[in-house]
Symmetry: C2
Subunit: 558 residues, 2 copies
């Protein structure tokens, strides 16, 4: 069989988050592979209670680890780099990233106690990294974090442009502007672009995107008009926004104080790698508390309502000695990501109770998106004129819409969700295989599979409560004393007014009294029978069927 | 002491949901009381896992039950009437409502097995219900359910207008139009309006609200353009919308089928009470399956992504023999309530995978709100010219904004959240007392207090997992055999690769071997020591501190 070019998303295709894409070139089943991005997504109480981080299941990569040439990281957002310290140890391949991204990656590896010489800093195009059959260039794009990059991946089967996350911003405040000439060049070298693998996040936004630079004026004006303390939150990694906010604060005669570890880390990393220069001087919290509030501006983490971030802390009271008061202003220079509404609204209401003015992005003046809107996507299609367009970085509905745009222009396209392997060798994409592509959870300090049942049991306990039954059986297979019942997450008394635990114990006692030896002597039968009784009584008493754990202790003859 | 007029919200003030308001008139502490609305709010996995419904804690009403004259229900939305079957048995006072609302209330009481003659159907103004010192009239207002009413409450201290939920709609399709003359009359009778207690839901919406009637054209046009099956979802109780949708379907040559119990119930109740006439004939599901899909329109429940509603069922596959297919269209003729985004998006993506076109209200063509927007609220203020405005039906931020509008017009105002008792006798509201105003959960079939700890334990188990330890101690206070450990919601193995349960058992065995008698003999000390060991080992192994239940069984000498 001849060689082929394959594409396999393991994360990020069918969701916005945990990006992980694989490209391969070679004979079927023997393709040499590269990985693009290793990101995380965030858990929620509904689907993944107690989980710390969610990332792609890389079992397929582990099975084929000998075929992997390298890992490329497009930018330092958590959904692109966050899984590095957790998944890289399973792969141990060279990692390539630009300077700022590499710095963040290095910090993550160090925090996880991983010493690695495999993280390589790459200069942008025209620098080329050779990785097996792949020749890869990092192409600067504008986004909501410095040094975001598209990848131009040249293969024997043609050129792939993997956009990463991007927008078209001619003046992004920090970092490189969108450069149409550069893209024109990429489109016209050699045989042009065979495949465009393209960000789909904002495909439903019908207006052209706005530049980061348009925010400076409105922000400065709004901040200058405030008389109390001003507190602004945005994504910690949006270094350009931090700069715009800080400059607006300084222009209004305010000292600026950054609150929240993630934010300070980002600014430091951006300054150390020279992507951020001229960031206004800022004061530490200890100094900020001494300043008159009308001369102070805080820039804080927690734009998504995260409970432990600075904004949530301030909504609950003092944080590092700083406190919001009536007449202060709190600005969300951000958009609430779907699913985070409750946490954000909780904070808004807490501030409202303090008499703090809350300003959000309702009017569209104080935030711009980091992703290309529909007209911008179309501009990129037209600029690159690819033979094939593969939508990525989107939920199914985004990718499908993006595919429809491509098809309408006569560009071959296919929606490939996580686990779908496409053959991109021919003029149109072909599905060749489905890989089991699940999710891996970081739970405390260990990785568990999403389908292991651990989290399912947690959800069941949360919905139904947990009943524990212990019974002691003596050497002669006779119950010793009564069964003992403990409840967790269930009311103590039911509709009859009697204690539920007592009611279950009574029923169990009655059962044990008349249960035949072959039941008493059999752990499985005991487990089933006792469980059934506990669920029945609880159902009668409170209309719920709880989870039940039965412990039968059997005394052994010495 | 002289008599006073009081207002006490027990629910609905500081949240959108579980409305329950109390008015009183009389000597302090001896006021005669009326209750307006007894609604529910809906649980979520984050704050109230396993809970079925949330309602106001009416302990204060129970304590003062002898002082209650009556309960008035403004309209049949769940957040105004849903708690009736659960809370009315604690009060057992006459209930007043208009015909459609009373019908829904009656159905709820009957479903709960409550036979009551206390539910009275009231005709609208000029009919007056006397309830102690209160004279109450139901005044028709337009909203997203038939027969919604404001209450005009005349008291010796002056006239209160309690708006209930309302919008200004001159052509609401079903039910009574907004009638400015009527409101003008109410404002100019006697001494006019002393207190306006007013819906605040849409105070942040800057444009005047749109009429329900504006939807007919766009809906008809859109539906006529479809070639596959059309499925539309909206709130089951929005009978006007159901009618508009059904008429648009019929006009496009489609048979209409209603799916979902709540929806059929609402249409039936509306037809039986004559608030709905001329609803297009519709076919049952059994008949619908036989029809060509291009001639069929389904109107289904589940606009908020509810897992068990018809729209979610259709997104997962067949429902009553009906199935969505490529080329079909699914319309959300609704707005997603904050907090429900995840469920709605899940459905959208499932339909996207099926190749179904999903149309939502992004363009503002296919849904209008049932609440008055800011300019509409201002129009009502100007029409009624109250001395005092009390914002209700809103989160804190909505009520605060509403208060600011009032104050700017020279109307006295105060934000009173649940539990805040206001004295409304004088020219401005005065806070006179704070009542403990919590939440009550319907959990299965029983009511529990939100602060009882039951749900807290569920959340903890969901976040941390649950470890069970059983130890048997013999007659001589010597451990009999080893401790036994079971895990629920925790991974089996930790970082060392060893089974966590075994690791805990080993540590417990070591402890029990050297524990002094005074520990072994003391249940509390044993509990604390064993719990600490289990948490420590689990922390080492997986970085989590689980919930622990310890059962020490002590054998007794016969």
């Amino acid at each position: 069989m001849s060689e082929r070019l394959i594409y396999l998303p393991l994360g990020g295709a069918g969701e916005i988050g945990m990006n992980a894409y694989v490209y391969g070139y070679g004979r079927p089943g023997k393709e040499r592979l590269i990985v693009v991005d290793l990101g995380v997504t965030f858990p929620d109480m509904e689907g993944s209670p107690g989980v710390d981080l969610i990332m792609a299941d890389v079992a397929w990569l582990e099975e084929n680890v000998e075929r992997i040439e390298a890992v490329f990281i497009t930018h330092a957002h958590e959904d692109h780099i966050g899984a590095l310290p957790h998944l890289w140890p399973k792969l141990k391949k060279p990692i390539y990233a630009r300077r700022f991204t590499a710095r963040i990656g290095q910090m993550k590896l160090e925090e996880a106690g991983i010493a690695s010489n495999d993280l390589h800093v790459v200069e942008p195009r025209p620098t080329v990294i050779e990785a097996g059959p792949f020749k890869v260039q990092f192409v600067p794009v504008s986004h909501s974090i410095p040094e975001s990059s598209a990848l131009v991946i040249d293969t024997p089967a043609g050129r792939i442009v993997h956009t990463g996350d991007f927008k078209l911003d001619g003046n992004p405040v920090v970092g490189e502007a969108f450069d149409p000439l550069l893209w024109h060049e990429i489109a016209h070298e050699g045989e042009g672009v065979k495949v465009l693998v393209c960000d789909s996040t904002n495909v439903f936004s019908p207006q052209p995107g706005r530049s980061e630079a348009t925010l400076a004026g409105p922000l400065a004006e709004m901040i200058a008009a405030q008389t109390g303390m001003v507190v602004a939150t945005t994504f910690a990694s949006n270094v350009a926004r931090l700069k715009t906010l800080a400059e607006a604060g300084r222009a209004a005669g305010r000292s600026v104080c950054l609150l929240g570890r993630a934010m300070k880390k980002m600014v430091t990393a951006a300054e150390e790698t020279n992507v951020l220069t001229g960031f206004p001087g800022h004061v530490p919290a200890e100094q900020a508390v001494e300043l008159p509030r009308q001369n102070l501006m805080l820039i804080v983490t927690g734009s998504q309502g995260e409970r432990r971030a600075a904004s949530a802390q301030l909504s609950r009271g003092k944080y590092l000695g700083l406190e919001m008061k009536e007449g202060d202003t709190f600005l969300f220079s951000s958009r609430t990501i779907p699913g985070n509404e409750r946490g954000v609204i909780r904070i808004m209401n807490a501030f409202s109770e303090m008499g703090v003015e809350v300003i959000d992005d309702r009017g569209g003046l104080y935030h711009v998106s980091g992703h290309a809107n529909r007209p911008d996507l179309e501009a990129v299609h037209d600029l690159l004129r690819p033979q094939i367009l593969i939508p990525m970085h989107g939920e199914h509905r985004h990718m499908r819409e993006h595919m429809k745009i491509a098809l309408a222009k006569g560009i071959a396209s296919e929606v490939a969700t996580n686990g779908t392997m496409l053959d991109l060798t021919g003029p149109a994409p072909k599905v060749v295989e489905y890989i089991e592509a699940g999710r891996t959870y970081l739970d405390g300090t260990v990785l568990i599979g999403a389908m292991d049942g651990v989290v399912r049991d947690r959800i069941r306990m949360a919905l139904n409560g947990h009943v524990l039954i212990t019974v002691i059986i003596d050497e002669d297979d006779v119950p010793l004393g009564d069964a003992w019942v403990e409840l967790m997450g269930l009311p103590e008394t039911g509709r009859g007014g009697a204690a539920i635990a007592d009611r279950i114990e009574d029923e169990l006692a009655e059962f044990l009294e008349r249960a035949p030896d072959k039941v008493i002597g059999n752990d499985d039968k005991m487990d089933e029978a006792l469980r059934r009784i506990a669920r029945q009584v609880t159902m009668e008493e409170i209309g719920k069927k709880p989870e039940v754990t039965v412990v039968v202790s059997r005394l052994m003859a010495d």
